[in-house]
């Protein structure tokens, strides 16, 4: 069966309207979640549990990612720069790439896979097993109980994770630079810190906070709106990871423009 041009236009229009509706729903959800972050009563126990989950239990995966990224970056930049005699810039490239971009982006993607999926699966399961309705009947606002602590925890935990990722990423570059590429240890570190500016680190941490918020927002929203049993929860989990990963990459560009565009 072939579709007439008008059907294509109608389908496109429906898709555009659906997209607008979804963006509006997520925005309202985010605003409501934020309003609960700011309004008492607060949920310190739930916040601490979520903070521990995001910050502490994500450390191994974020740390390993950062170390190997720093190592690969040192190797690649050395082999590239050696073509025009600029091997000395390896330390500078590694530290700038890690602090400005790769630290926050890769940590964000790793946390998206770990935490975004976990939030969506947990809240989605609660949705399809009536636990969210049960919260309401027990005089507890699900947004305050489930969403607000996770939004706050991920937003605060991500910059801490990225500080660790920055340190480990630079360390990975240092290891390759000194043990494999023949740089002196003090010389590599001097080149690293001489070139680094406060804004490089701060911009990375600001990105991390935004990415943490996005991961928690998409995880909680997809879980909260999931329907239809195990299949619905699975779909919500996949959507949370895919959407937050794409948003991280898109927002990375927007934030880079905001921080560094001249």
């Amino acid at each position: 069966m072939t579709l007439a041009p008008v059907d294509w236009v109608a389908a496109l229009g429906r898709a555009a309207l659906d997209l607008c509706r979804t963006i509006g729903a997520v925005a309202l959800f985010a605003l409501e979640g934020l309003s609960h972050v700011l309004r008492p009563p607060f949920q310190p126990r739930l916040f601490l549990r979520a903070f521990l989950e995001v910050a502490y239990f994500s450390l191994p995966v974020v740390g390993l990612t950062a170390v190997f990224t720093g190592m690969v970056l040192a190797l690649q930049s050395y082999s590239g720069f050696s073509r025009f005699g600029a091997e000395g810039a390896v330390a500078n490239v590694v530290v700038l790439s890690i602090t400005r971009e790769l630290g926050p982006v890769l940590a964000g993607l790793m946390v998206s896979g770990r935490i975004g999926a976990a939030f969506a699966a947990e809240i989605g399961t609660m949705r399809v097993t009536d636990q969210i309705d049960a919260l309401t009947t027990l005089s507890t606002d699900p947004m305050k109980y489930l969403v607000a602590p996770r939004l706050l925890a991920a937003t605060l935990a991500m910059p801490l994770l990225v500080i660790v990722a920055d340190v480990l990423g630079v360390m990975g570059g240092y290891l390759i630079g000194t043990f494999k590429l023949g740089f002196s240890g003090p010389g590599y570190l001097k080149a690293t810190f001489d070139f680094l500016q406060v804004m490089d680190v701060v911009s990375g941490l600001a990105k991390a906070a935004v990415f943490g918020f996005v991961v928690a927002l998409m995880g909680t929203w997809c879980g909260y709106t999931s329907r239809g049993g195990a299949q619905g929860v699975g779909a919500a989990t996949t959507t949370a990871v895919v959407a937050s990963s794409i948003l991280i990459l898109a927002l990375d560009y927007v934030l880079t423009e905001a921080f560094f565009a001249r």
């Binding site: 947990e122 399961t125 609660m126 097993t129 009536d130 636990q131 309705d133 049960a134 309401t136 009947t137 027990l138 005089s139 507890t140």
Partner: protein, 255 residues
């Protein structure tokens, strides 16, 4: 006497599908009302509308003579604060031990400390025939019957004035079903509460209910004494109560 719950012309649709098509129902104080009806007849949606879990499209919902739909969110919260609900599958919180589940509302409202909550939970668990040691377990470690009992303990721990039971015996063997029914009757009497139960289980309906109502295609088609179920003179209700294949209610195949 003012009904504890009064519904008039309650309507709710999901897209093109009309689920509630003008429900009228009175539940008197201290009475136990059982709402019967087939799958998809609108039983669960009715109580979810009363509890504010689903927004009704139109109609009147009064609790203690006050129009719930016309209230502010805060006023509605205050009214609904005096209600309890036992969900069909228990809906216990997996991440919390049983004692925290039981005292969840009291802890959330800071009416008791965590230390007091353990004692209160033990007391509530004893009320539903469970040992205090169950309090330390996680919901996943409990059998279906025990989960139902814990959910019942949670529903009544805050001593609500109105309690809703959503298919309390579904998934239980007949003996455990009778045990749960007995506990529900005892708890409701002890609290002097008003109860609304939705069920397909006729034995359970007769055990729990003082009054009964039948909902069919989104409308209440009969109300009367629960004891008369099966001999009401209403062909639809009697067919349903006796579980007969032949009669005015026919199975509709969805296209």
């Amino acid at each position: 006497m003012t009904p504890r719950i009064r519904l008039r012309e309650l309507r709710k649709s999901f897209g093109p599908k009309t689920v509630l098509d003008g429900v009228d129902l009175d539940v008197m104080p201290g009475r136990s009302m059982v709402i019967l009806g087939g799958s998809g007849s609108g039983k669960s949606v009715t109580i979810k509308c009363i509890l504010g879990l689903i927004e009704a499209d139109s109609g009147l919902i009064e609790i203690n003579g006050r129009d719930v739909l016309a209230m502010s969110a805060r006023e509605r919260e205050e009214v609904l604060d005096h209600t309890g609900m036992l969900f069909q599958n228990g809906a216990l919180f997996d991440s919390l031990p049983v004692w925290e589940n039981v005292c969840f509302k009291l802890l959330a409202q800071k009416r008791i400390t965590r230390a007091q909550a353990r004692d209160k939970a033990a007391e509530a668990l004893a009320g539903v025939g469970l040992d205090a040691s169950v309090g330390a377990l996680s919901p996943a470690e409990l059998s279906g019957g025990m989960q139902k009992r814990v959910a019942l303990a949670r529903a009544i721990a805050s001593e609500p004035r109105i309690i809703f039971f959503d298919e309390p015996t579904t998934g239980l063997d007949p003996i455990m079903g009778a045990v749960i029914d007995g506990l529900i009757v005892d708890c409701v009497r002890r609290l002097g509460a008003t109860a609304v139960t939705i069920t397909h289980d006729m034995a359970s309906a007769r055990r729990i209910g003082d009054d009964a109502a039948m909902i069919h295609k989104g409308r209440i088609i009969w109300t009367g004494a629960a004891a008369t179920l099966g001999e009401t003179g209403n062909a639809m209700v009697d067919q349903f109560a006796r579980g007969e294949r032949e009669g005015p209610i026919t199975m509709e195949l969805r296209k």
